[in-house]
Symmetry: D2
C-alpha cells in the first residue's frame, strides 16, 4: 500500500528539489543559441563562483553526473601515465581512484580506515617520499566522504602539500559538501574543485560542475589526455558569450539559476552553512541519545551534510532501511560496499529545516524499534529539539567556535 | 529570513495538495463542451458518490467555496421565511445559521457550549416542541466542527429526528470531515450533505460539492428560493451528458479526478479513514503527554481531522502560532472568534502520514517552549510514536471498536 | 487517434493559459490567513483597477464563475421585485436577463436581432417611456456579446441614459472583453462592471470579478436582496487587510497576479488592446477573403475578441467544428441556441500572437474544404498576413481611427 | 517588447517538449536505489529497443549530450590509434570526425559537398582501397545531417560495406532522425546507433542514448580506449536489476517513459513516421511554392525532420531568422559554419501537427517579405494545405511508396 503525504527523501543525495526549483524547470525549452539563453549563462556563472569560494577560478558546467566531474577534473590536466596520489577512506574516494586508473593514470592508492578523515600528515609523508622519477602530478581529495560522513580539512591538506614543497595539483571532490559546507577554492589553492547538481545545489541529477584554477587552466591548454566531451577549452571559450559548444541541459540551468538565487541572494551562504551545521548537530545529538555510534571517528570531522550511523552487532542496517521505507515512507542511505548492512546514512543537506529533521529522527526511531534495535522512542527527537530551541545568539557564538 | 525546506501547513484546511494533484492540474485548459471534458465528468461523479456514502443521492459540483455550499444547500430546498433549526456549538455552526438568516430564513439558533458535540436529545427535544404553526423545515448539522475539533454523531441525530416523528430536512455540513472521516449520506438519510474541495479531498479551494437525496431533489423541483447560480436543476440536467450549464472550474476537476483515484481506487476509503483515526490518536496522545486540554469535551466525539488544543491560563495561543510560523515554518490554525487566543488547532487531515505528524508535534513542542508554555520536549512525539509502532493488527482491532 | 503537438484552443474562452501562469499556480497552497497571502491580495487589487479603467471603483473577487458575477452584480444593489431593463441581442444577454428573472426581479427584456449591437437610442427610448410607477432600477448591458461577436458602445449608452434623465444603475457585462478590449468603468460611469477569469485574464475558470461604483456600494450597504455568498460587504471589509471572509481560491489568485504582471506591467494595456485589434483585423480580412459573412451586422461594432462566421446556406457549422477538432486539433466555438449549426466562432482573445492566428485560419480553411464549404486554400491566411506585415506606424495610425 | 502567446520553436532541436512530458518530470526526485526507480528503468529499455528497431541490440543511457553519445560510441569499441573512415557532408559529420581525432583515433575524413548524401559507392570504394596495414576499424555515418537536411540511406551503406567484404564497425548517428524517421538498427546491422534526448524523443537535452550490437558489446568487453564515464559495461551490468552505477538523470527518465508511451503505445511508431513524412512534404511544397531551393540536392534524400532553405543571392539568412524571432516569436535554425548566412533551417520533428506547420510557414513568409526576400504571401501555406487535405487513403498509399 502506498503511503499518503510527502515522502521523506533523506538519503545523502539526490536531495529534495524545492517546489520553486521544479517550477523554474517546468517550462518550454528555449533556443540555446538565442539571447535569452545567453543571459541565463551570464547570471549563473558569477553566482557559482561565490559558492565555490573563488575569485580567480573559472567555473565549467557539463551535462553529466558527478562521475563525469571526476573524469573532467583529470583528463584536462593530466596526461595518461602520469602519477596520482589517492587515499581510500570511503567508497567515493575509492571510486575516484578507480576512475583515474580506468583512464590510464598511475595511481598510488593509500589505504585508510573507513570512518577516518584524510590526515594531512599522511599527505605530507607521501609527498616527501616522492623520489621524483615519475613525480606525483596530482593529489585527489574527497572533501566530504558521502559513504562515511567524514569532512576532511582541505586547508590543512593544502598546508601539508606546501610543507612538503611539492607542486602536485590539488583536486578536490566537493560533491556532497558544496553549497552546504563552506568550500574555499581560492583559499585552499585548489586546482580543480568538482561537484554535481543533485546535493547541496538542490537540483535533480544531470550537471557536473568544476571550478578550475589559473594553473590548471594553463595545464589544460597544452597538456591533458586526448579528450572531447570533457574538454573544458571550447566550453570556456563559448561561455564568454553565454553559449555552449553543444546543446546544454537547458532546463537544469533554469533550475540552477533559481537555486543560486535562493542560496546566495536570499538565504545567504553563511546562513546556509550555519543552518547545515545546526541541523547536523541535532542529528548527532539524536544518535548519541540513541546510544549508537557515528561512523566518523573524530568529532572535529563530523560531516554537516550526512551522518553514517553504525547499527549494533547483530543488527542489519538494510533491514532498518527497508522498514523505514516500507512502513514510514522514509528513504535513508544504505551502507555502501564493505560497510553494507552495518551502517545507515541520514542525509541532512540541501533544502531542509528543523521540522523535517525531527520527522526524520522520529521515523528512524520507529524503524529501529520495529527492526529490533532497542532505542528509547522520542529520545533522539528531544535531543535535537534541545539544540534547536537554543537562542539564536548561542548558535551564533557556536558558529564561530565550530567553524571548520 | 525565509525558512529552507518544506513548510508544514497543518491548519485544518486548506490542506496540503499532493504533487500528483498539482501535476494533474498543471495543464492546458480544455474545451468544456468537448468530449474529453464529458468523460472527465462521468468519471468523477460515481467516485464522489462513494465518498459521500450514497447510492441514491445525486452529486452536484459548483465552482465556489464551502460558504457557497451552505447557500446551495438552503436555497434549493427552502423558501424564504421557512423555519430552520440550528445549533451554535462552534464558529462554523454559528456561521451556517447566520447564512440562513442572511438568506431570509427564520432561524431558531440554539446555543450550546463550544467544545460540546450536538446532542441528539437536544435535537429531539426541539423538534418535539415544534407546535407546527411554522414548522421546522430543516435541521442544520455540522458533522465536524472545524473550530472546536468535535465530530457529532449524525446517525444518532437522524434517530432523534425519527423519534420525534418530525419530517424536517436533514442538512449536514461535512466540510472538514468528508474523505477523511466516514460520511454516510444514505445511512443517515441526509437530505443535503455538503463540503468544499480544500480539506479531505486534498485540492486547492474553489469547489463546493453537494450530495442531494431524492426527497431534496423533489423539493428543489418546485420549491426553494429564487435562485440562479446555486440552482442545481440545470447542473444535474447537463451533467447527464457530462457537461455543465456554465464554464466549470476545469483544472480543479482534473485535480479532483486524481484525488479520487488516490483515495478511492488506490488507498481505499476504509484505509483512508483508518489512517486518519490513527494519526489523530497520535496527536491526541501528544496533547495528553503535554498535559494540555483538548477543547472537545468528550473523548467519543474527538475529531479525527483536527485537534483544538487549549493553552494554559495566562498563555496566548496566537503567540504560539506566531512562533511556530516564524521560527519553524509551521502553520497552525488560530482560535476563531470567541476562543481567539485560547486555543490553537492542529490540522491532521488530507494527505498526511506519521512522519509529518511527528515533525508537526515536534514543532508544536518547540513553539510552546519558546512561547513560555512549559512542556517536556519530545514527550508528545514519543506518545505518538508509541501508537504508531503498534502492530497493524492492533490497529485493525481498534478500528472496529472506535468506528463512529 | 490523438493529435501530436499543441492543440489550438480557439474557442472564445476559456482561453489558453500561458505556461508562466500555469507555473505560478503549480505551487503549494498557503495559509490564507497568513502575511504572504495578504500581500498577494494587496498587489492584485490595484492592478485590477487599472484593467477595469477605474480610480473610484472598488474591485471584488469571488471564487465563482461568470454566471456568479451576474448574480453578484444584481443581488447587492437590487431588491426583489425591482424593475430591470434588459435587451436580448445574443445568447449571453438573454441569459443575463433570465438570471435576473430567476432571482425575482421584474425584467423588461427588449428583443433585438442577434448580430445587432445594443443601440443607444433603444435604451434612451425605453427609459424615456418609463412611467415611474415601478421605475427601472437598472439597465443590463453586455459589452461584448460572446455569441455573436458584437461589441456595443457603452459610452454611447451612458450618454443615452443621461439624455433620458434617468437614474437607473448601469450594469455592464465585460466577460469577454475585459483585458482584451478597453473597459472604461469610470468614464462610462458604470455602477457594476463584471467579468470572469477565463477570458482576457488568461486564467482557468473559477473567479468572478466585479468593479463597483461608489453609488452601487452605497446601495449595497442598506438595500439589495437577501444574500450571503455574493454579499460584497464582508469581502470589501476583509480585503482592507488583505484577507477574505472565507477560503479564497488561492491558486487562481497566484495566477491572477502573474497575469496582471504580464498585461499591465510588461506588455502594457494599450499594447494589449492594440494587439487584439490587429489580430482581429487579420481574422476579419480572412473571413472576407473566404467570401463568408460576419454575423456582426455593422463593421464599427466588430468584436476584437471573437468573430462569429456564418456558414453558407446548406452547410452545417457543427460539421466544420467537428472536422476542425478531429482532424486538426482545432477547437472552435459553436453557434449557441438559436444560431446553432449556422455559425462557428473563432476566439482571438487572451494570450495570442500572429502565428497562432495564421495556424488557426489555415486550419479553418482546411476544415471548411473538408466539410464541403468551398473556399480558396491560403486565401484567408494571405489576407491576414498582408495586414500583419504592414509597418507598425500604419498600425498606429489605424489605432487612433479604430478606437471604440 | 515580448511577444504574447506561444512561441514557435522550430529549430531542428531541441524540440518542443509536450506539456504531458513536462508534467511527468515536474515531480519530486526519487531514490535511485529504490524499487520505484528499478521499475522505471525496466519499462523504458524495451520501449527504446522498439524505437531503435532492434531485438538483438542493447540500449545504454547516459546523463550526457549528443556529443557525449559520439564519444561513448567510439571509446567502448575502438583503441586509440585505430583507423576510422569518416565523411564530411555537413557540420555534424565534420564534428563527429573531429571528435574521433580529439580522442586519439586516426581518422580518414573524406570531403563531400554539403547538401549531398553519403553515397554508398563512396563508402565501398574507400573500403576496397583499404590496404589492410592499419585497416579501417569503423565507418562513421550520420543518418540525418541536421545542418543540411539530408537523410542518407544507411541500408545501402551497409550493403556497400558487405560488398567490399570489409568488417569495419558501422557506427550510425541518428541524433536528428530517431523516433521521427525510421531507424533500423538490426536490419542495418549497425554496431552502434546513437542519439540524444532533445529531438524526436521530445525531451529536454540531457540524455545520450546508444544501441549496441552483440559484436560491439564483445569488442567493448576487452578492447576500447581507457574510459570511465562512458564505459557501458557497468551500466549494462547494473541495468539488469534496473539500476545505474551512478546517479542517473532521474527526472529525464520519467520524461522519457512518458515520451515512449506517447510514441510507441499511443500514436504508434509507424504513424509517427508517417506524420513526419506528411509534415515534411508540406514544408517542401511550401519551399517550392516560394521559388526557393532546398539545400539537399536530391529529392530521394530529403529529410523528414528538417529542411534547410537556401536564400537567394544577396539575401542574408541570419536577417530572416532575426526578423522571424523578433517580430513573430518564431525560432528557426541558422546556417552553421561554412553555410552561415546562406540557409535557414525549419525544424519539423518531434511533437508537431499540421496547424503548427502552417503557422510556421506563414511566419517564414512574413519574415522573408520583411527581410526583402520576395515571396508570395500565403503561397507556401496553400501548397502545404493542399497536401494536408488529401484523403488519408492517398497518404497511406504514399506511405508505402515513400518509405526509405
Amino acid at each position: 500500500m502506498s503511503i499518503s503525504g510527502r515522502h521523506f527523501l533523506q538519503i545523502p543525495g539526490p536531495t529534495n528539489v524545492p517546489d520553486r526549483i521544479l517550477r523554474a524547470m517546468d517550462r518550454p525549452v528555449v533556443d540555446h543559441r538565442g539571447p535569452e539563453f545567453a543571459e541565463l549563462t551570464k547570471e549563473i556563472l558569477p553566482l557559482l563562483k561565490e559558492v565555490f569560494g573563488t575569485h580567480e577560478g573559472t567555473v565549467v558546467i557539463y551535462p553529466s553526473s558527478g562521475t563525469g566531474a571526476w573524469e573532467a577534473a583529470l583528463v584536462n590536466v593530466l596526461s595518461p601515465g602520469e602519477r596520482i596520489l589517492a587515499f581510500n577512506y570511503g567508497h567515493f574516494s575509492e571510486l575516484f581512484a578507480r576512475t583515474a586508473r580506468n583512464l590510464g593514470y598511475d595511481v598510488e592508492e593509500v589505504p585508510l580506515r573507513w570512518g577516518q578523515e584524510l590526515p594531512a600528515e599522511e599527505v605530507e609523508a607521501h609527498l616527501r617520499a616522492d623520489d621524483g622519477e615519475n613525480p606525483y602530478a596530482a593529489v585527489l581529495v574527497v572533501h566530504n566522504e558521502t559513504s562515511t560522513g567524514v569532512t576532511s580539512d582541505v586547508g590543512a591538506i593544502r598546508d601539508a602539500i606546501d610543507a612538503a614543497g611539492h607542486d602536485a595539483l590539488l583536486i578536490v571532490d566537493t560533491v556532497s559538501s558544496l553549497a552546504s559546507i563552506e568550500v574555499k577554492h581560492d583559499e585552499w589553492r585548489a586546482d580543480v574543485t568538482l561537484t554535481g547538481s543533485q546535493k547541496g545545489l538542490m537540483l535533480p541529477p544531470g550537471l557536473a560542475l568544476l571550478c578550475v584554477s589559473p594553473r590548471a587552466l594553463e595545464r589544460g591548454t597544452e597538456g591533458g589526455a586526448p579528450r572531447n566531451f570533457f574538454d573544458w577549452r571550447p566550453i570556456i571559450r563559448d561561455n564568454e558569450a553565454g553559449f555552449f559548444p553543444y546543446t546544454p541541459a537547458t532546463l537544469l540551468l533554469f533550475g540552477l539559476r533559481e537555486a543560486l538565487k535562493m542560496l546566495v541572494e536570499e538565504e545567504g551562504l553563511s546562513n546556509v552553512y550555519a543552518r547545515h551545521r545546526s541541523l547536523a548537530e541535532g542529528v548527532r545529538a539524536a544518535v548519541e541519545a540513541w546510544g549508537l555510534r557515528n561512523l566518523c571517528e573524530k568529532p572535529e570531522f563530523y560531516s554537516n551534510t550526512l551522518t553514517a550511523v553504525v547499527v549494533p552487532e547483530g543488527a542489519d542496517s538494510d533491514e532498518v532501511i527497508r522498514v523505514a521505507r516500507e512502513r514510514f515512507g522514509l528513504a535513508l542511505g544504505v551502507g555502501l560496499s564493505r560497510i553494507k548492512g552495518r551502517v545507515f546514512r541520514i542525509g541532512h543537506l540541501g533544502a531542509l529545516n528543523e521540522l523535517e529533521v525531527l520527522g526524520t529522527l522520529g521515523g528512524v526511531e520507529m524503524a529501529l524499534i520495529e527492526s529490533g534495535v532497542p532505542v528509547e522512542l522520542g529520545s533522539g527527537v528531544r535531543a535535537a529539539q534541545q539544540l534547536f530551541t537554543r537562542k539564536p545568539t548561542e548558535v551564533a557564538g557556536d558558529q564561530d567556535r565550530a567553524a571548520v
